[in-house]
């Protein structure tokens, strides 16, 4: 029986490079999109800096594996957006982005005012807020 598409709001409050929170959020978003649900990823804090337009699409070279290419978090986000058929929306908090000089975002990522966090969280069928500020 086909699932009824639902809307999922993922609020990523916790910091990247500190735990596997961002990885978990991506995995949840990807799994939901593949089941044809609609996902809104909302990032706050330094997670807003992961998707700046200036970010390279690959991590710096690994001195132990010089020819291996490692995609940057921005590239992974872009890949997910590209493969989502429009079911993944990636939003970032304007307040957090302004404070961290992350206002120039890559294509496909939209900057939204902070008050929309609650509006969008409440409007979704399912809301999951990850991490602590």
């Amino acid at each position: 029986m086909a699932l009824t598409p639902r809307s999922l709001f993922l609020g990523l409050i916790g910091a990247p490079y500190a735990s596997d929170l961002f990885t978990s959020a991506l995995r949840i978003a990807d799994a939901a999109v593949r089941k044809e649900h609609r996902v809104t990823m909302w990032t706050c804090g330094y997670a807003t800096a992961l998707t700046v337009a200036e970010a390279s699409d690959r991590k710096p070279r690994d001195t132990l594996a010089w020819d291996t290419v490692y995609p940057s978090p921005a590239a992974v986000a872009a890949h997910l957006l590209d493969r989502s058929d429009g079911r993944l929306t990636w939003l970032i908090c304007r307040y957090c982005a302004e404070e961290r000089a992350a206002m120039n975002q890559m294509s496909g990522v939209r900057i939204r005012p902070p008050y929309e966090f609650v509006q969008r969280a409440l409007a979704a069928d399912v809301c999951l807020v990850l991490g602590t500020k």
């Binding site: 490079y17 929170l21 990885t23 990807d30 710096p60 132990l64 890949h79 997910l80």
Partner: protein
């Protein structure tokens, strides 16, 4: 040039963000410049366990991300002569009974940690 005690207390700091560039990769790079004694404490005690190799991570229908391979990093540390210790107290909290440790890792008591710290010239929390 004396030995540096590198204390690692937090594990799993972002698989997608870090991939190869995790704390054990950093410590290994530092060790090649200056001898390190590595102490695993807290949740980082899991790095001492002889666990399964990291799983593949598929996102957006592709295996883009290289999940951190802590076992390989621990092996490089051992091969290059770094002393790797793990707090026995912390290990008891994260290890199932009988779960094996990686080769070359030595469990140490709190008293032994204190003695090790006293014998090192510098102590870094990484």
């Amino acid at each position: 040039m004396g030995t540096i005690l590198a204390i690692i207390e937090r594990a799993h700091r972002g698989a997608v963000e870090q991939q190869y560039a995790h704390v054990l990769w950093l410590v290994h790079g530092l060790h090649r410049q200056s001898p390190m004694t590595v102490l695993l404490r807290g949740t980082a005690a899991v790095y001492a366990l002889d666990a399964e190799p990291p799983p593949r991570l598929r996102l957006g229908g592709a295996e883009l991300v290289h999940v951190p391979d802590y076992r390989a990093a621990m092996d490089r540390l051992r091969t290059d002569g770094a002393t790797v210790l793990v707090s026995a107290e912390c290990l008891d909290r994260v290890r199932s009974p009988g779960a094996p440790l990686l080769p070359g890792v030595t469990p140490v008591t709190a008293a032994e940690i204190a003695a090790t710290a006293a014998a090192c010239d510098r102590i870094w929390y990484l």
